[in-house]
C-alpha cells in the first residue's frame, strides 16, 4: 500500500507542461540561434592580417598601466569576455583598467607558414607598441592564458618595451611534463608521429582536427554536457550559460602549420623553451631575462595543462616579485566562473599603482 502511494506521488510530480518546456528549451539550445558574444564595448585599434587589437575602455579610469591580453591559438578569446557578470575583461574594465586584447582571428591557408616566432615578433611586439602609443602609457601589464601565456612569457624575455607585470594562467612552459597517455607522449617525442607530413598536406590544421586532438586527450566521449542540459533545461540562466559554453567549446580555429610544427617539435619534443634554446628571429629566448612582477595561476583540476607544466616558470625568471597560485578550478572554468577575475583584481591592483 505504501509503495502504491509513493508511486502515485511521483506520477503527480510529473508535470507535462514542464516537460514540454524542457524539451523545447533543450532543442532550442542545440539548434536555435546563437547568443551574441563580446558584450563588453570595444573598438578595434589595429588590424594585421587576420588579427585585431581590440581596446576596451575603462568605465572610470583608475590605473595608468594598461593591460595587454593574449589568448591561445586553438580557440577564440571570447572565453575572456564570457558572459555579463562572469567576464574577465568586463571585471577589469569595471575596475578602471584600459584593456587591450590581441585576437588572432581565423588563419587561412595563406597563413600556413606563420610560426610562433612570427606571432611573437610581428604581432605581439607590434601590438604592445601600439598599445603603449594608444594609451600614452609608459609601461604595460601582460596577461597570457594557456598557450597565450607561453607567448607572453617568450615575448617578455625578449621585450624592449617596458613591462611592469606578467600574468600567466594555465600556462604550458615545461613540456617534459605532459597530460598525454605515456605511449602517445613517447610517440610524439620519438618518431611515432609524422607532423611534417600532416603540415605538408593540410598547410593549416583544420579546426575539426584541433578539436579531435583536445577531445582525445581530455574526454573522447563527450555526452555529459548534453545530459546536464536536458536535466536543467528549465533553468534559463543555466541554459544561457550552457549555450555560451557550447559555442565557445565548438569554436576551435585552424592552426597554422608553422605554429603547429614549432609547438610539437620545438616545444613538446625538444622542450627548447625551458632549455633556453628557443629563438625568435635569431634572438635567444632566455626566460631568466624576465624581470617583471610575475603571477602564475594554475588550475588544480586542469586535465590539459598539469601544474607541473607551469610551476617551473617560477624558478626560471629573475623577477624579484613573483607569486604562484593554485586554484580549485579547471582549464576553462578558471576564466569562465570569474575566479581569475577576482585574482587579477587583487594582484593587479597592488602592482599597478
Amino acid at each position: 500500500m505504501a509503495t502504491e502511494a509513493k508511486n502515485q506521488n511521483n506520477l503527480k510530480a510529473f508535470n507535462y507542461e514542464k516537460e514540454i518546456e524542457r524539451w523545447t528549451e533543450f532543442t532550442n539550445a542545440i539548434m536555435g540561434a546563437e547568443l551574441s558574444a563580446h558584450h563588453t564595448p570595444r573598438k578595434p585599434i589595429w588590424k594585421k592580417n587576420k588579427a585585431t587589437l581590440w581596446h576596451y575602455a575603462p568605465v572610470e579610469k583608475k590605473y595608468d598601466i594598461p593591460i595587454f591580453m593574449i589568448y591561445s591559438l586553438f580557440n577564440t578569446p571570447s572565453i575572456l569576455d564570457f558572459a555579463p557578470g562572469s567576464s574577465v575583461i568586463e571585471g577589469l574594465v569595471n575596475n578602471g583598467y584600459d584593456v587591450y586584447l590581441l585576437d588572432w582571428g581565423i588563419a587561412g591557408y595563406e597563413d600556413k607558414d606563420i610560426n610562433m616566432e612570427d606571432y611573437i615578433a610581428d604581432y605581439i611586439q607590434k601590438g604592445v607598441k601600439r598599445t603603449l602609443r594608444h594609451s600614452k602609457a609608459e609601461e604595460v601589464s601582460l596577461i597570457g592564458y594557456c598557450l597565450g601565456g607561453t607567448f607572453a612569457a617568450m615575448y617578455a624575455a625578449i621585450a624592449e618595451e617596458p613591462i611592469r607585470n606578467l600574468i600567466v594562467a594555465t600556462v604550458p612552459i615545461d613540456f617534459s611534463v605532459s597530460a598525454l597517455p605515456d605511449k602517445w607522449e613517447e610517440a610524439l617525442k620519438g618518431n611515432g608521429v609524422n607532423v611534417d607530413r600532416l603540415i605538408e598536406v593540410f598547410g593549416v590544421i583544420p579546426p575539426s582536427y584541433v578539436e579531435s586532438m583536445f577531445r582525445s586527450v581530455t574526454s573522447p566521449i563527450y555526452n555529459s554536457p548534453y545530459v546536464t542540459l536536458l536535466a536543467r533545461a528549465n533553468d534559463k540562466r543555466f541554459v544561457e550559460k550552457w549555450k555560451r559554453m557550447n559555442k565557445w567549446n565548438s569554436g576551435h580555429v585552424p592552426l597554422t602549420g608553422g605554429a603547429f610544427r614549432q609547438l610539437t617539435i620545438d616545444l613538446c619534443k625538444e622542450n627548447k623553451l625551458v632549455k633556453g634554446e628557443f629563438t625568435i628571429h635569431g634572438q635567444k629566448v632566455d626566460l631568466g631575462k624576465i624581470k617583471a612582477n610575475l603571477l602564475v595561476v594554475s588550475s588544480k583540476n586542469d586535465t590539459l595543462i598539469p601544474e607541473g607544466q607551469s610551476l617551473p616558470l617560477m624558478d626560471l625568471v629573475s623577477s624579484k616579485d613573483k607569486t604562484y597560485l593554485s586554484v580549485e578550478a579547471g582549464h576553462v572554468s578558471l576564466a569562465m566562473t570569474g575566479k581569475l577575475n577576482g585574482i587579477l583584481n587583487n594582484w593587479l591592483g597592488e602592482h599597478s599603482s
Binding site: N9, N10, A13, K47, K48, N49, G108, Y109, E110, K126, R133, P181, D182, K183, W184, E186, A187, G192, V193, N194, R197, L198, V201, F202, S219, P220, I221, Y222, N223, S224, V227, T228, L230, A231
Partner: protein
C-alpha cells in the same frame, strides 16, 4: 515527510551518464595507450594523408586544365594583400618616427622660444639699464661741468684774493702818514 525528495529521472540519468562517460573515457585511454594503437593510428593517418594528397593534386591539375582559379592562386592574391598591409604598417611606423621627431623638434623650438623670450627680456632690461646709465652719465657730465665752473670761479676768487692782498700792501706802502693823521684826529 519533510525529508522526502521528489524523484527526478533526469538527475538519475545524468548521474549514471557521468559515471559511465568517465569509465568509458578511462577505458578508451587505457586501450589506446599502447604502442600497437599508436602505430595503427600513425598508419591510418599516413593513409589518409596519401589519399588527401592525391585528391589535392588531381583537383589542382583539373583546375589548371580548365583554367579555373586554384587555391594556390587565391593564396598568392591573399599574400599580396598581406604584404601591402605590412608595408602600410611599416610606413605608419615610420610616420610615427617622423611625428616623434617633429614633436621633439617642437619641444626644442619651444624651449628655444622660451630662451629667446628670456634673452629679449634681458636685452630690454639691458637697454633700460643703458638708458639709465646714459642719463647718469649726462648728470655726471653736468656735475663735471659745474665742478669745472666752480674750479674756474675758485681760481678767479684766488686771483681776486691775491689782488686784494697786493692792494692792501700797496695801500699800506703808499699811505703811511694817513694812519698818523687818523690817529691824531681820533685824539
Amino acid at each position: 515527510m519533510t525529508g522526502n525528495k521528489t524523484f527526478d529521472p533526469y538527475e538519475t540519468w545524468k548521474s549514471f551518464t557521468n559515471n559511465w562517460e568517465k569509465q568509458a573515457n578511462d577505458t578508451i585511454h587505457l586501450w589506446t595507450n599502447s604502442r600497437e594503437y599508436v602505430n595503427f593510428s600513425q598508419g591510418a593517418s599516413d593513409l589518409q594523408m596519401l589519399f588527401q594528397e592525391i585528391f589535392q593534386k588531381n583537383k589542382q591539375a583539373m583546375a589548371e586544365n580548365l583554367q579555373l582559379l586554384t587555391k594556390k592562386d587565391l593564396v598568392n592574391v591573399a599574400k599580396l594583400s598581406i604584404q601591402t598591409e605590412e608595408k602600410l604598417d611599416a610606413i605608419e611606423e615610420q610616420i610615427w618616427n617622423v611625428q616623434d621627431s617633429i614633436e621633439s623638434r617642437e619641444k626644442e623650438f619651444r624651449s628655444l622660444i622660451e630662451v629667446s623670450h628670456e634673452t629679449n627680456k634681458q636685452i630690454k632690461q639691458l637697454k633700460k639699464d643703458q638708458q639709465r646709465i646714459k642719463k647718469d652719465l649726462e648728470k655726471i657730465g653736468q656735475i663735471h661741468f659745474e665742478l669745472l665752473e666752480l674750479k674756474s670761479e675758485l681760481a678767479e676768487m684766488n686771483s681776486l684774493k691775491e689782488e686784494v692782498v697786493s692792494l692792501k700792501t700797496l695801500l699800506a706802502e703808499n699811505n703811511p702818514n694817513k694812519d698818523r693823521e687818523l690817529a691824531l684826529l681820533s685824539k
